[in-house]
């Protein structure tokens, strides 16, 4: 049992930091404030991801056969920590490399791989995740968007909501159903967002410009070759995708970075001698470090290829606690940051308030952990 880094891992982290110091523009705080899905950050992600690709870092954790470099799970995670803590200059493209790619590797056919991987690898495409619907949030399997089978493919009608990055997305990982018959009737379609009949509407929200959208589908034709996996296989694929998504974002790293900044600021302002402030900062710090180690435990499982258990659900709870602890501390003791003084604090606030909802509500994580980690009996008629 050990809790440190190898010299190679330290070197890797330093390399990512150096790259960030070099590539992030001076007005990065202003770009980052609007979130990964904003126009400004998406535009920057296209430059930054190309640079990452040039450095061999964009998809380096992918296997060699898919253009990657077989980088270790830990190295990928170290890079994720540094990039997310810096405000995620990959913009929406973190999704491509974190979970879209791995899902395609496992379930796409050769033609699909040949089509999508080179685009992801060069850092030029934006994928969005078309899962949630107005009446299907936590209860994802109740989704209603229809995919009617026609000659040569499917015709899609329906609506998605909360779709991050849809405004600028080139592709959508879309869930729809061919009939009303439960999970088995769900299909996954790899949709070209420029298809006729797709309409995207931004939703004004507390969490920043360009993040969440409604997407409407009116008689959208999707060719059969864009079906991912077999019909009937979708739920298995979705489960795999969500496993990769749920702790894919090292949120605690951004929280810790923001807390360090807050401490420095409070010191500069002569306020850090106040024991109440130091007490509360110390508690928030403990929450960040707790989340870090809970997540590391999950990464360790991945790195050692141990079977995934419900530890990821426990870790998600820890992550939410850490985001909230740091955000609550700053909102209480540094409200001036939210009054326009600190763009990064605003960015953190907007990520933190969504932490317990995006990627599945925190209560769903608790439900799953109760069943799978504590082995508690199910509640009669409980949905999850």
């Amino acid at each position: 049992m050990e809790f440190g880094w190898t010299p190679e891992q330290e070197e890797h982290r330093a390399r990512v930091k150096t790259l960030l110091a070099k590539e992030l523009p001076e007005n990065w705080d202003e770009i980052a404030v609007h979130g990964p899905g904003s126009d400004a950050q998406t535009a920057f992600s296209k430059i930054f991801c190309k640079r990452l690709a040039d450095e061999g870092l964009l998809i380096s954790h992918w296997p060699k056969e898919y253009g990657g470099n077989d980088m270790s799970v830990w190295d990928q995670f170290i890079m994720g920590e540094e990039l997310w803590a810096a405000g995620e200059p990959r913009g929406p493209q973190y999704m491509n490399v974190n979970w879209i790619g791995p899902v395609l590797m496992r379930y796409a056919n050769e033609a699909q791989k040949a089509k999508y991987f080179p685009q992801i690898a060069e850092g030029s495409v934006i994928w969005c995740q078309g899962f949630s619907e107005p009446s299907a949030g936590s209860d994802l399997a109740s989704l209603r968007t229809k995919a009617e089978k026609v000659e040569g493919g499917y015709v899609v009608n329906g609506a998605k909501v909360w779709t991050s990055y849809a405004g600028l997305a080139t592709h959508c990982f879309l869930l729809a159903r061919t009939s009303s018959a439960g999970k088995g009737a769900i299909v996954i379609l790899l949709l070209d967002m420029s298809s006729p009949g797709v309409q995207v509407k931004q939703i004004p929200a507390l969490i920043g410009e360009g993040d969440i959208h409604e997407v409407f589908f009116t008689d959208v034709f999707v060719p059969a070759e864009n079906l991912l996996g077999e019909e009937g296989q979708a739920w298995e694929i979705i489960t795999f995708a969500l496993q990769n998504e749920r702790i894919g974002i090292p949120r605690y790293a951004f929280s810790r970075r923001i807390l360090d900044r807050a401490a420095a600021k409070l010191q500069a302002d002569g306020r850090f001698n106040d024991p109440i402030i130091r007490d509360r900062a110390g508690r928030a710090l403990a929450m960040c470090e707790a989340a870090r180690l809970m997540v590391y435990r999950v990464v360790h499982q991945r790195a050692t290829q141990a079977p995934q258990d419900a530890y990821g659900n426990l870790a998600r709870w820890a992550i939410v606690q850490a985001d909230h602890a740091v955000n609550d501390f700053m909102t209480e003791f540094m409200p001036e940051g939210l009054l326009g003084d600190d763009q990064m604090q605003i960015a953190h606030h907007q990520r933190a308030i969504a932490a317990g909802i995006a990627s599945g509500a925190a209560e769903i994580q608790l439900n799953l952990a109760a069943r799978r980690y504590l082995d508690l009996p199910g509640e009669p008629r409980r949905a999850v």
Partner: protein
């Protein structure tokens, strides 16, 4: 020391913990049948001494992390034994590490302390000095308490000679003490949770196990998460022996303790308030640890100072 994140036990660690489990197995340790608030196991103490477990950190190839794993495992038992201070603190503070059990107090040597009734050494954190006091036979009176450790107080603290170890040792004592609190809390939390899980899976109300109610499940998962996070933070603190890691681990454990204990008792109903039900052995040790080293605020201040120190004007 090689560096990598590695959550699995090493072969040596597995072997040591296996040996400990075997030793505990031979003693047939069960929760006390009599309604007692605390039970010290002298037979276990004797066996651990014979087995050399208190000297683990001094053995070739072993260190604090291995000691911490032993402390954690012992904390899971319904009976108590003084191990944390003996293993994690005594080796660098006692001339003769055999003069254990070791009791710890902050401020005044007259304050009640855990394990003082059987202690041979008392270490006092005076803030600007660490005092070491040898405890002769008959110098201690028992203190009655619900805290599930034996507590005692010196009858005449002024009469006992104290060795001053100097201001330079205060930080080290506090670091190790916080580490000890967190490591012990991790073991206590695990057994408390296991006890309550068993209860909520078997106790039926409204025609179903109370553990099937979502209101109960969610808070139990939160408790499980707190137990796990305490564990990793505590073991990291033992691995690094750093001031920041020890203070962070203690902050987390002490911050979590009130809700953790309140919830776990809540789910056991009136049964959880009895001495017959073993839960109190762990929750009242947790509650005892909550009040040490300045409590969660004391640890949080220490964490803030350790991490952001030097920068404070």
């Amino acid at each position: 020391m090689s560096h990598a994140v590695q959550f699995d036990l090493s072969e040596d660690q597995s072997a040591i913990l296996g040996g400990l489990e075997q030793l505990i197995g031979t003693l047939n340790i069960e929760a006390p049948k009599d309604p007692v608030v605390s039970a010290y196991s002298q037979p276990l103490d004797d066996e651990l001494t014979t087995g050399g477990f208190f000297e683990i950190t001094q053995s070739e190839g072993f260190g604090l992390l291995d000691g911490a794993l032993i402390v954690e495992a012992l904390a899971k038992l319904p009976v108590s034994v003084e191990a944390a201070a003996s293993i994690l603190i005594a080796p660098s503070f006692l001339e003769d590490a055999g003069r254990r059990p070791v009791a710890l107090v902050s401020g005044s040597a007259a304050a009640p302390a855990r394990f003082l009734p059987m202690a041979k050494t008392l270490l006092v954190d005076k803030g600007d000095d660490v005092l070491r006091i040898d405890i002769p036979e008959g110098a201690v009176e028992d203190v009655e308490t619900l805290f599930a450790y034996p507590y005692g107080r010196l009858k005449n603290p002024g009469a006992l000679p104290a060795v001053s170890l100097g201001a330079g040792r205060v930080a080290e004592l506090r670091r190790r003490w916080r580490m000890a609190i967190a490591v012990e809390a991790a073991g206590l939390m695990q057994s408390a949770l296991d006890t309550v899980l068993e209860h909520v899976k078997t106790r039926q109300q409204f025609g179903r196990p109370i553990g099937s109610f979502q209101a109960v499940q969610h808070r139990l998962v939160m408790a499980a998460e707190q137990g796990q996070a305490t564990r990793w933070l505590a073991l990291r603190a033992a691995w690094s022996d750093s001031e920041a890691d020890a203070a962070i681990a203690a902050t987390y454990a002490q911050d979590a303790t009130p809700k953790f204990c309140n919830d776990l008792h809540q789910f056991c109903g009136a049964m959880g308030l009895t001495l017959e039900f073993p839960l109190h052995h762990w929750t009242y040790r947790l509650r005892a640890l909550l009040g040490e080293m300045g409590g969660s605020s004391g640890s949080a201040l220490a964490a803030a100072d350790a991490v952001w120190a030097g920068k404070v004007p």
